[in-house]
Subunit: 373 residues, 2 copies
C-alpha cells in the first residue's frame, strides 16, 4: 500500500526550483475556491497588476499560463509564428535550442545566430543576419541562459531587432525578479518566465506578457493557432476585464494563490532591492568559492548573479560530489548540461534562497565533500 | 499595496473544482524539492503505480501531464492525430466540441456523430458512421459529459470502434474515481482526466494513460508532433524507468505531492467503494431535491452520480439564485452551459465533497433561497 509522501528537507541551490518561501507554501495550502468565484476573479486582477510591476510593463495582456516555463515558451511561439514565417533565434545554450524546436513545430523558418555555450548573444552577428535575410518577422533569444549562467544584453538586442521592424520574443525564466528586466522600455513584444526561479514560488506556472503590437499580430493572423490550450485569443476572454469571464479551462487555483503571494513579497521588497540583493549575494558566493579554491566559468561582465557556473576542478568526479552533497548534506546543486556536462556545476542563488546563510552552508559543505573524496 | 489573499470558505458543489481534502492540502504545502531529486523520482514511480490502479490499467505510459484537463486532452490529440487523419468525434456537449477543435488544429479531418446535449452517445450512430467512412483512424468521445451530467457507455462504444480497427480517445475528466472506468478491459487507447473532480485534488494537473498500441502509433508516426511541451516521446524520457531521467521540463513538484496524496486516499477507500459512495450520495441528493420540489434533467439510466443536472423551475432567475447561494451561504453550484444555460443548474457531488452533510446543507440553503426570492 502506498503511503503519504514526506519530502526530505533540501537546500535548493541548483538551477531551480529554489526553496519556496514559507509564506508562499502557506498561501498554496489554503482551501480551494472556484475558478469563476467573484473572490478568485479579484485575485486574478491583482495578479495581473503585480505581474505588470514585476515585468515593468503596462501590457494589459500580462497573465500566468497554466503550465511550466516550456508551456509559456510555446504560448509565445504558437501565437506569434505562422507557417513560413522567418524567425531569427539567437542560440547560446539549451533554451535557444528549444526555441528552434518551437519554431519548426509551428511550421516557421528558423534562422540561427549562434554563439558558443558560455558566451552572450553577440549583437553584431544578429545585425549581420538581419542584413542578410529579408522579411524576418521575429527575433527570439534567451535573456538569462539557465544552462550556462550567462546574461545577454536584452536592450541592445531588442533595439537592433526593432530597427529592422521585427517582433521580439524573450525568455526571462531565470531573470524575472533577479536581474533588471524592462519589458516596455526595451521593446520586448512577448516574454515568458517561470515561477520556480527568482520568484521562489512552486514550479508549474509561467508568467507571460504580450505588447499591443504582439496582440495585434495575434488577432490579425491568417492561420488558426495550432494549440487550443495555449490560444491567447481564448485565454484573453477568461483573463479579460470585469466580472464576466468566459470559461476556457479550470485555472490552477492554489498555484495562483502561491504566485500571488510570491509577487506580493517581491513588491514588498521592491524590484530594485531584489536585484541588488542577488548581486550582493553573488559577490559573497564568489568570494566563498575562491577561498575553497573554486573559480567561476563565466566572464564577470556577462555573469548571472542568480545562477553561477562553477568550474569543476581537474580530476574531481562531478556526479559523486553532487550525490554526496545531496545525500549527506541535503544540498542540491545543478549539473552542467550538453557540452558543459562534467565541466561545470550550476549553483543557484535565487529569490528566497539567495541569502548569506545558504552561501556559507553550501561553501562549507562543498569544501568538506571535496576534501573527503 | 497588494496584500496576502485569504480565500473565503466555500462549499464547492459545482462542476469542479470540488473541495480539496485537508490531507491533500497538507501534502501540497510541504517543502519543495528538486524535480530530479532521487526522492522525487521515487514519488513519480509511486504516482504511476497509483494512476494504473485508478485507471484500471497496466499501461506503462500512465502519468500526470503538467497542465489542466484541456492540456491532457491536447496531449492525446497532438500525439495521435496526424495531418489528414480521419477522426470520428461523438459529440453530445461542450467537451466533444473541444475535441473537434483539437482535431482541426492538428490538421486532422473530424467527422461528427452528434447527439443532443443531455443525451448519451448513440452507439448505433457511431456504427453507421464507421460503415459510411473508410479509413477512420480514431474514435473519440467523452465518457462523462461535465456540461450535461450524462454518462455514455464507454465499453460499448470502444467495442464498436475496435471492431473497425480504430484507436480510441476517451475524456474521463469527470468519471475517474467517481464512476467505473476500465482502461484495459474496455480497450481505451488514450485517456485523459483532471485532478479537481472526483480525485478532490487541486486543479492544474491532468492524469493520462496510453495503451501499447497508442505508444506504437506515436513512435512510428511520420510527421513531427506539433507541440514540444506535450510531445510524449520526450515526456516518456523523463517519466521512464530507473534513476536516469532526461530533463524535459520542471515538474510541478508540489501539485504532484497533492496528486499523490489524493490517489493514496482513493486506494485506501478502494475504487469500488468510491464508486458506490458516489451512487449512494446521488440518491440522497435526488431525494432531498425532490422534497423541495426540484427534479433532475437527465434520464436515470444515463445519469452521472457525481454531476447532477437540475431543472430550474419556471420563473426562477438562474443567476440571482446562484449569486445568493454563494454570497449568503458560501455554496457554489454550477450554471448550465451553451444550449442549457438558464435551464439547468449543475450540482456536483465529487470525491471528498460527496457526503450526506454537504447534501443536507446544500438542499436546505437552496430551499431557503428559492423561497426568499
Amino acid at each position: 500500500m502506498s503511503n503519504t509522501f514526506y519530502p526530505p528537507e533540501r537546500l535548493l541551490m541548483g538551477p531551480g526550483p529554489s526553496n519556496v518561501s514559507p509564506r508562499v507554501l502557506s498561501a498554496l495550502g489554503r482551501p480551494t475556491i472556484g475558478h469563476l468565484d467573484i473572490a478568485f476573479i479579484a485575485l486574478m486582477d491583482d495578479i495581473r497588476s503585480l505581474l505588470q510591476y514585476a515585468f515593468n510593463t503596462h501590457n494589459d495582456l500580462s497573465l500566468p499560463i497554466s503550465g511550466p516555463g516550456s508551456a509559456g515558451m510555446e504560448a509565445c511561439f504558437v501565437n506569434l509564428v505562422e507557417p513560413g514565417d522567418k524567425v531569427i533565434i539567437c542560440k547560446n545554450g539549451v533554451f535557444g535550442q528549444r526555441m528552434q524546436e518551437n519554431v519548426e513545430r509551428c511550421g516557421g523558418n528558423p534562422i540561427l545566430v549562434e554563439d558558443d555555450w558560455g558566451q552572450a548573444v553577440d549583437p553584431e552577428k544578429l545585425e549581420t543576419a538581419l542584413k542578410t535575410h529579408n522579411d524576418v518577422k521575429i527575433v527570439a533569444f534567451v535573456h538569462a541562459e539557465t544552462s550556462t549562467g550567462v546574461l545577454s544584453d536584452a536592450k541592445v538586442i531588442c533595439d537592433i531587432a526593432k530597427s529592422y521592424g521585427c517582433l521580439t520574443i524573450v525568455d526571462a525564466v531565470t531573470s524575472l525578479g533577479g536581474s533588471p528586466l524592462y519589458i516596455d522600455d526595451w521593446h520586448i513584444d512577448a516574454c515568458y518566465s517561470g515561477t520556480q526561479k527568482c520568484l521562489s514560488c512552486v514550479p508549474g506556472i509561467s508568467p507571460v506578457t504580450f505588447s499591443k503590437e504582439a496582440v495585434n499580430q495575434i488577432k490579425t493572423r491568417s492561420s488558426k493557432i495550432q494549440s487550443w490550450f495555449l490560444d491567447m485569443t481564448l485565454i484573453m476572454s477568461y483573463w479579460g476585464e470585469g466580472e464576466k469571464r468566459a470559461y476556457h479551462h479550470t485555472a490552477p487555483v492554489n498555484s495562483l494563490y502561491a504566485l500571488h503571494e510570491s509577487l506580493v513579497i517581491l513588491k514588498e521588497e521592491a524590484l530594485e532591492n531584489a536585484w541588488q540583493r542577488h548581486d550582493a549575494n553573488h559577490d559573497l558566493l564568489k568570494n566563498a568559492l575562491n577561498k575553497i579554491g573554486l573559480t567561476l566559468a563565466v566572464p564577470e561582465d556577462i555573469r548571472l548573479p542568480q545562477l553561477n557556473a562553477v568550474n569543476i576542478p581537474n580530476g574531481v568526479d562531478d556526479e559523486s560530489i553532487r550525490k554526496t552533497l545531496l545525500g549527506e548534506h541535503n544540498i542540491e546543486i545543478g549539473a552542467g548540461l550538453g557540452t558543459l556536462a562534467g565541466k561545470i556545476w550550476r549553483i543557484g542563488l535565487m529569490g528566497y534562497s539567495s541569502n548569506p546563510q545558504n552561501i556559507a552552508r553550501c561553501a562549507t559543505a562543498l569544501d568538506a565533500v571535496l576534501n573527503q573524496n
